[in-house]
Symmetry: none
Amino acid sequence: MERTRTQMQRYAPERQQEILRLARERGRVDVLSLAEEFQVTAETVRRDLKALDRAGLVRRVHGGAIPAGRLDFEPDLAERDAVAADEKQRIARAALAELPGGEGPGSVILDAGTTAARLAAEIPLEAELTVVTHGLPVAARLADHPGLTLHLVGGRIRHRTRAAVDDWALRAYREINADVLFLATNGFSLEGGLTTPDLAEAAVKRALIAAARRVVLLADSAKFGQQHFARFGDLADVDLLITDTGLSPEDARAIERAGTEVVRA
Amino acid sequence: MERTRTQMQRYAPERQQEILRLARERGRVDVLSLAEEFQVTAETVRRDLKALDRAGLVRRVHGGAIPAGRLDFEPDLAERDAVAADEKQRIARAALAELPGGEGPGSVILDAGTTAARLAAEIPLEAELTVVTHGLPVAARLADHPGLTLHLVGGRIRHRTRAAVDDWALRAYREINADVLFLATNGFSLEGGLTTPDLAEAAVKRALIAAARRVVLLADSAKFGQQHFARFGDLADVDLLITDTGLSPEDARAIERAGTEVVRA
DNA sequence: GCCCGTCATGCGTGATCATGCCCGTTTGAG
DNA sequence: CTCAAACGGGCATGATCACGCATGACGGGC
């Protein structure tokens, strides 16, 4: 098919490169203009943007996209997914009760991830704790708590999760020993154990578990039964699971029979 | 100093980003002004503030919101020092020219501090680099850049500067070797050397200098002649000083005679 | 030259999202 | 204590999106 328009026919990767260039140049692109500009349907543009988004090159927004790096806040944390947000909120609140109190400042490890970030946001400003984390957003939220001693675990930063991984992180966690670990996961089940899509993160999570005397898993019920690529532990490693009421009482009982206490917030 | 605001339609995340910026800049925003400013209804603004609140970036108050944690991770607040802001901006721009280019991705170390954060914000989205930093705000700014390999240096986080210090940081910097270091300081002079108020930070800065082949010092001219408690190096350690025109030509010449190239941006 | 698997694209449909409006409830200033 | 302002939940609406399927181009193998 010969194009007589100003835009010559392009192959998909070329078009995507060009879209990326335009996004960076203009700061934002919208689906409809791109569709017209390239003489393709909006559907195709959406597919292109989706591909660029998966590659981490742009941030998809309703109606268009913004080049990655331009937004310095984290839309993932501002997620408006009302259902999960609400549950995560309740989970975070419930988790507060598990913070080590008593005499002397306790020590906790906070995993990376949105649920942990939510917990971080809930930690009272005047709390007296030693906190260790490898999650950049988590650290950002805690950095101004005057009562906290915050230790950041270094490493290579994964773009998608903003978590530190690899050697530095592993070594750091090997050197510490915390009262409580607040662990997050992408999937958990009785047989499948605890799983996450990324191997590097799984390795860090394994180190996390080894570094704490008590393991508290924070996971909304949608994650129950999910299995991802990398397995980093078992439910047996978890002392307490805090989830939401979306987890059926039968499933909860089954988990408790396996030795893990369950709280449905 | 209100910039003319185009009434162009914004995507929700863009608007939220802008609201966050305004909140940090002004210390407080109110629903109605924002609604007018962005040409949306108060409901929408409330929703935006709610999202930002959930993300922990602002705290909701009746009628508006205030930025969370006051000293939150952005330089904007630290940069309310309007005198230096402009100069820091020019210094950051000038520093871009010193980023390693050429064949293969270069490696740079970015010091913590507001000037370095400025530089981080100026690094183009498409840059291909390996960046190492121990500054939380710096890392937050760069975490989204798709072309960067970002390594975060861990350690105890100092509340005031949001920089990682102590053993983890020192050890990490001992293990690396970067093309260029962009160094910041609180004071510099020919006889007094490079100084900063905090001993722990000074130790890290010393490790920084040892870890780079080329040292570029970013410092506005107000810092010239200042001497603080902890000395971490000499101007002789610096290959290039990027400062502003506030540094007198005579002082610049004196520094150059000592072997440090000087750029007055 | 022919066939078939793969891929990019377009189309239709039902779901989702962002926003605005309504209205009962809460808040805080006087 | 009073009351207007502010809030938030529910709902409506139009735009946008995701998914399945059909089409047609391309390319490799026979």
